[in-house]
C-alpha cells in the first residue's frame, strides 16, 4: 500500500473490482481498492448470479446488453472460468396487468435488438415439462440471458486488475474521508491515504460513504434472503423468475439450486440474520411450481442486501457538489449483472471524460430532482 493513489475505490465487490480492472485496462493503474472485509464479502458474494437483459426501461436494457457482451468475454479475458452460462431467463407472469406490460416491454426490448420470445403457458410446459404452469398467464424468454458464479466473477476482475498493477487492500476499512481542495484524504485502519479521485462502490454501505464525503446519496439497504440445495445432475438451464410470483431460481454449474424471493415487510438496515419464515414460504411456493424440488434438501440459507435507490435503478456518475467523487451504487439487487458495463462506463468517464459504449447520463443523481419512474422488473 502506498500513501498516495490517483484513484481510490471503496468496495471490493464486483462493481469496485470491475471499475478497478477497467481503469487499469484503459491505462490508469494507479488505483487502490479498499475492502473492509474480504473480496465478495458484501452483496456480490451473497447474490444468485443471474444476468438478465429483460428490463422495463430502455437504458437498463442497453446497459444489460453491454454487460452480457462483456460477460461473454470475461473468462477468456481474465483466465478465470466464471461458470458463465447463457441458459436464458424464463420470466413467468401470474398477473394479467403485468402480462400486458410484458408485451410492451418485449416490443421495446426487440426494438433495441434483444431477441426475446413470448411464450404461452402451454409453450412453457412443452419446453420445461417439469414446471407446473398453474396460474401462469404468459412468459417471456431471452436465450442470451443467463447466469454465472458471482464469487468467481468477482475474483476474476480482482485478479485481472491486480495483474495490471491495481492494489487491492482487503480488511481495510475507510472510517472517514476529508475532502481536500484537490483530492481526498482517507482515514483507514491501516493509516491515511491520499487520492485524487474517490469512487464509492460500497454497495449496502454506499450512503455511509456518501455521508463521509458530505454528499447525500438516497439509498437504503434491505435484507434479501436466499438459499441453496444440495447438488444434483444438471438439467435446469434457464434462470426462472417471476416479479408477480415473487421468486427466482437457477441451477448452478455445480448442480445446486439457488433461489430466493423478496419480502415486502423488510425494514431498511443491515441485517445478516435469516428467518425460518423465508424457508417455509419458499418451500411451499417453490414445491408447487417446481415439484421436483420436494425431495431435494436445503443445505444453506443466508442473506445479503439490496442497496435500493428511489426508482430501483442504479445511481452512477460524478457528484456535482464534490468534484472527483464518483459513485456506482443503488443497484437495487442488480449490481452483479450490470457490473461489467458499469465498470467499463465509469472508467471511461474518468479517463476519457465520456462513456464510449453506453450512455449512463440518465443514471446520475440529479435525475431525482425531476421525479421518480420506478423500474418494475425487480424481485
Amino acid at each position: 500500500m502506498k500513501n498516495e493513489y490517483k484513484v481510490a475505490i471503496i468496495g471490493g465487490g464486483i462493481v469496485g473490482c470491475s471499475i478497478a480492472y477497467h481503469l487499469a485496462k484503459f491505462g490508469e493503474n494507479d488505483v487502490v481498492v479498499f475492502e473492509k472485509d474480504y473480496l465478495s464479502s458484501g452483496s456480490t458474494g451473497r447474490c444468485a448470479g443471474g444476468i438478465r437483459q429483460q428490463w422495463s426501461s430502455p437504458h437498463n436494457v442497453l446497459l444489460a446488453m453491454r454487460s452480457v457482451s462483456l460477460f461473454e468475454k470475461l473468462s477468456q479475458e481474465t483466465g478465470v472460468d466464471i461458470e458463465y452460462k447463457q441458459g436464458g431467463y424464463l420470466v413467468l407472469s401470474y398477473d394479467d396487468q403485468e402480462a400486458a406490460q410484458f408485451e410492451k416491454n418485449v416490443q421495446m426490448q426487440r426494438e433495441l435488438g434483444l431477441d426475446v420470445e413470448i411464450l404461452t403457458p402451454k409453450d412453457v410446459k412443452q419446453r420445461y415439462p417439469y414446471i407446473d404452469v398453474s396460474g401462469v398467464k404468459m412468459a417471456t424468454f431471452c436465450q442470451k440471458d443467463g447466469h454465472a458464479n458471482p464469487h468467481l466473477a468477482n475474483f476474476a476482475y480482482a485478479r485481472a486488475a491486480q495483474k495490471l498493477g491495481v492494489h487491492i487492500m482487503t480488511h481495510t476499512k475507510v472510517m472517514a474521508v476529508e475532502v481536500l481542495p484537490n483530492g481526498f484524504e482517507l482515514f483507514t485502519n491501516r493509516g491515511k491515504i491520499g487520492a485524487k479521485i474517490l469512487i464509492n462502490a460500497a454497495g449496502p454501505h454506499s450512503r455511509e460513504i456518501g455521508n463521509m464525503v458530505g454528499v447525500d446519496l438516497p439509498t437504503e439497504s434491505y435484507r434479501h434472503q436466499i438459499m441453496v440445495t444440495e447438488a444434483v445432475k444438471n438439467f435446469f438451464n434457464p434462470m426462472a423468475i417471476s416479479f408477480s410470483g415473487n421468486f427466482y431460481m437457477r441451477q448452478t454449474k455445480h448442480g445446486q439450486f439457488i433461489m430466493g424471493q423478496g419480502d415486502p415487510e423488510e425494514k431498511p438496515g443491515i441485517n445478516n440474520n435469516v428467518t425460518y419464515r423465508f424457508e417455509r414460504e419458499m418451500a411451499e411456493k417453490m414445491c408447487a411450481i417446481f415439484p421436483f424440488l420436494s425431495k431435494l434438501r436445503i443445505v444453506r440459507h443466508w442473506s445479503g442486501h439490496y442497496n435500493m435507490s428511489p426508482d430501483a435503478q442504479p445511481i452512477i456518475g460524478e457528484s456535482t457538489s464534490v468534484p472527483s467523487f464518483y459513485y456506482a451504487i443503488g443497484f437495487s439487487g442488480h449490481g452483479f449483472m450490470l457490473a461489467p458495463a458499469v465498470g467499463e462506463a465509469l472508467a471511461q468517464m474518468i479517463i476519457y471524460g465520456r462513456t464510449l459504449h453506453v450512455d449512463i447520463t440518465e443514471l446520475n443523481l440529479d435525475r431525482f430532482e425531476k421525479g421518480v419512474v420506478r423500474e418494475k422488473n425487480v424481485v
Binding site: 461473454e72 468475454k73 468467481l152 455445480h254 425431495k295 431435494l296 443445505v299 444453506r300
Partner: protein, 600 residues
C-alpha cells in the same frame, strides 16, 4: 545340418519382408532370430508409423510385426531364440538357446539383417544400475511390462529418445528432462511436440556429466556445453532421477557381414562402418545381401522396402523368373521415401556406393487456419517427412500431400466435414480439431490422446499449451474411443484458447482430502492461498470448501489451520467464518409437511 534356399539372419522388418517375397515364390526360407518372438524392434514399438498405407503407415509397430508374420507361408521355417554365431568358409553355425545346441546351416543365399546396436557414451558412474539404453527400456516396458523406474532423465533427442520418452510417460513414469548436446532436436518435430506439450523440457546444448548414487542411480548431474561440446563450468545441476536412459544413436552390427568377407566401409552418414551393397542390396559377395539398419541407420519403412528388394532379387536369382518390374517398383519406393530432408544424410552416404536420385517435394505449408467457428482440423506438420495418412484417410478428399510423400499436407477447408479421422490417423499426433465459440465464451478443442485411463465426460482438467504450460481450466465434453488407440478427447476451454491449448493434464488428487463433500485437497487449498485467497470465506467461495451438505463440519478447522500456517496468522485472528442454517440438510417436503402439521 539344415539346408535351405535362403537364410535370413534377423527377423525384423527387413528380414520378414524378404521372407514374404521368397516364400510366396516357393523358396525354402529359414529365419534365424535371437528374440522370443519375431519382429525385431517392431515388437516394442507402440507408436504409429509414418509413411504411406502400402507400408503400414498409422499402424503401430507391434501390429506391423503381426501383419508381416501373418504373410509368411509354409515355405518358411523359423528358429527363435537362436543366434548365428559364425559365417565360416564351410558352414554357418547358430546357437539354439532353448535346446542348448549348435545348428549347422547350409543356405544358397543369405540375407544379413541383424540391425544395429545402441551407442553408449562415457560419463562418471555410468556403470550404475538404473542406466539403460533406450532399446532396453522399450524391451522391458513395452515387451515385458516392467517399468524400469519412476523418474527418468533421457539423454538424446533423436526419434528414439523422443519416442521412448513419450512411451515412458504413457507407462506412468515422469520424464524430468531430455538433454540434447547439439543446438537442435535430432528427431522429428512432431515427436518432440508430443513430449513438450506434456511438459517435458528438452534442454538443448546440455549433456549428462555424471550419475549420482552408490548402489544404483539416485540422480544425475547435467550441464550446458559450449560449441565444442565441452561442459561449461558452473552450469551443472542435479536432477533427482532413478533411471538414466541413453538414446544417442545406433551403430550397424557388422560383425557377421565382416567375418563373411563383405567389404566394409566407413560412412558416418550411414552410422559408421557399414557393408558395401548395390542397388539390389547385394554385397560384393554374390549370394550375401544386407538390409535394414545394418545397411545404414534409417527407419523401419525403408528397412521393409530394402527387405522386399532382397527377397525379389533372391527369388529372381534362384527361380530364373523375370522380376525386374517388381524390383524397380520397390527401388522407386525407396527413392520416393528418401527424397525428404531427413534422408539427405543417407543419400549422401549411399552416393559412395552408387548414384542417388531424389524427387522434389513441396515446402509450401498451409497458410490459413480455416474458417473461424467451424469444427475443423489444424494440421501442425511443418517438417518434410515421408508421411501421408492424413491425405489417404480423409473421406472427403480435403487433405492433399501434393507430389512427393515428403511434401507438407495442405487442407481445403471448403471440402472438410470436420469428421476428425485425420486426427485419429496422424502418426505424429499433429492434427488437432478446433471450433471457436462452440458455446458462448468457450472454444472446443479435440486432441488425439493415447493415455490411460481415459478422462471422463464432465471431468475438469488443466489445459496445457504446446510447451506444456498451464493456460487455464478445461472440461472434457466428449471422448471418442478409437480402435487404433488414438482416442479423440473433446475439451471445452475458455474462448480464445483454440489455437493455444494442445494438451491437458488431469489434476493429481493427493490423498489428503480436507473437504470430503467437495473433495478438496490440502494441495488445492495451499495453491489457492498462494494465488491470494487468504481469507477463509474467500477460500470457501473460490474452492467451494465447506459448501457441501455437511456445512464445513470437518473441513473448517483443517482449512483454518492450513491458512494459519501459510499466512502466519493466528486462527483467532482469521476467525471461524460464518455458520448458516440449516445445520443439517433439510428436505423441502419436510418443511411443507411441518407447516401443514403446525397449522392443525
Amino acid at each position: 545340418m539344415v539346408k535351405t534356399d535362403f537364410l535370413i539372419i534377423g527377423g525384423g522388418p527387413a528380414g520378414l519382408s524378404a521372407a514374404i517375397e521368397t516364400s510366396k515364390r516357393g523358396l525354402k526360407t529359414l529365419i534365424v532370430d535371437e528374440g522370443v518372438e519375431l519382429g525385431g524392434q517392431l515388437v516394442k514399438q507402440t507408436h504409429k508409423f509414418f509413411g504411406h498405407e502400402g507400408f503400414y503407415a498409422s499402424v503401430r509397430g507391434f501390429e506391423i510385426a503381426k501383419r508381416l508374420i501373418s504373410q509368411l507361408n509354409e515355405n518358411v521355417t523359423i528358429m527363435n531364440q537362436t543366434t548365428v554365431t559364425g559365417i565360416y568358409e564351410d558352414i554357418i553355425t547358430a546357437y539354439d538357446r532353448e535346446n542348448d545346441l549348435i545348428v549347422e546351416i547350409e543356405p544358397k543365399y543369405i540375407l544379413i539383417s541383424v540391425g544395429a546396436s545402441e551407442r553408449f557414451i562415457p560419463f562418471e558412474n555410468n556403470h550404475l544400475p538404473g542406466i539403460y539404453g533406450a532399446g532396453a527400456v522399450q524391451t522391458l516396458m513395452n515387451q515385458f511390462k516392467v517399468l524400469p523406474g519412476k523418474r527418468v532423465l533421457m539423454v538424446g533427442s533423436g526419434n528414439i529418445g523422443l519416442i521412448v520418452s513419450y512411451q515412458l510417460l504413457q507407462a506412468g513414469a515422469q520424464v524430468k528432462a531430455i538433454v540434447e548436446i547439439t543446438e537442435k532436436v535430432g528427431g522429428y518435430q512432431v515427436h518432440a511436440a508430443k513430449v513438450k506439450r506434456l511438459g517435458v523440457p528438452i534442454l538443448l546444448r546440455h549433456t549428462i556429466v555424471k550419475a549420482i548414487g552408490d548402489e544404483k542411480v539416485e540422480g544425475a548431474v547435467i550441464a550446458q556445453v559450449d560449441e565444442k561440446f565441452n561442459v561449461i563450468p558452473g552450469t551443472e545441476r542435479e536432477l533427482a532421477v532413478d533411471v538414466i536412459c541413453i538414446a544417442v544413436g545406433l551403430v550397424p552390427s557388422i560383425e557377421l557381414a565382416q567375418m563373411a568377407g563383405v567389404k566394409i566401409e566407413y560412412i558416418p552418414e550411414l552410422g559408421g562402418f557399414v557393408p558395401f551393397r548395390d542397388r539390389e542390396m547385394r554385397t560384393n559377395i554374390k549370394n550375401i545381401f544386407v538390409a535394414g539398419d545394418l545397411a545404414g541407420i534409417e527407419e523401419a519403412t525403408t528397412a521393409m522396402i530394402e527387405g522386399k528388394i532382397v527377397g525379389v532379387a533372391v527369388a529372381r536369382d534362384l527361380t530364373g523368373i523375370d522380376l525386374q518390374e517388381d524390383l524397380e517398383k520397390m527401388q522407386k519406393e525407396l527413392v520416393e521415401f528418401r527424397s525428404g530432408p531427413f534422408s539427405d544424410k543417407v543419400r549422401k552416404g549411399l552416393e559412395r556406393f552408387f548414384p542417388q536420385s531424389a524427387h522434389s517435394y513441396s515446402k509450401d505449408a498451409q497458410q490459413d487456419l480455416g474458417p473461424t467457428g467451424k469444427l475443423r482440423p489444424i494440421i501442425e506438420c511443418f517438417e518434410n517427412i515421408p508421411c501421408n495418412p492424413c491425405q489417404t484417410s480423409c473421406p472427403s478428399g480435403a487433405i492433399t500431400v501434393p507430389g512427393n510423400i515428403n511434401s507438407l499436407p495442405l487442407i481445403d477447408y471448403s471440402k472438410c466435414t470436420g469428421c476428425g479421422i485425420c486426427a485419429m490417423k496422424c502418426p505424429g499426433l499433429a492434427i488437432f480439431m478446433v471450433q471457436e465459440n462452440h458455446q458462448p465464451g468457450r472454444d472446443l478443442i479435440v486432441l488425439p490422446y493415447e493415455f490411460l485411463p481415459l478422462p471422463e465426460k464432465g471431468q475438469k482438467v488443466i489445459a496445457l499449451d504446446r510447451e506444456g504450460r498451464e493456460v487455464g481450466q478445461a472440461e472434457i465434453v466428449k471422448v471418442v474411443k478409437s480402435s487404433n488407440k488414438t482416442h479423440l478427447v473433446h475439451l471445452s476451454v475458455p474462448a480464445g484458447l483454440a489455437q493455444v491449448v494442445r494438451s491437458f493434464r488431469i489434476p493429481q488428487k493427493s490423498d489428503s482430502i480436507v473437504c470430503r463433500c467437495e473433495e478438496i485437497t490440502v494441495e488445492e487449498i495451499e495453491r489457492a492461498i498462494d494465488e491470494g485467497y487468504t481469507d477463509y470465506e474467500e477460500l470457501r467461495r473460490y474452492l467451494r470448501i465447506g459448501m457441501g451438505p455437511c456445512g464445513g463440519r470437518t473441513c473448517r478447522v483443517i482449512t483454518l489451520s492450513i491458512l494459519a500456517r501459510k499466512t502466519k496468522k493466528s486462527i483467532q485472528e482469521i476467525g471461524c467464518g460464518t455458520f448458516r442454517p440449516p445445520s443439517m440438510p433439510v428436505k423441502f417436503d419436510s418443511i411443507v409437511k411441518g407447516e401443514i402439521d403446525n397449522e392443525k
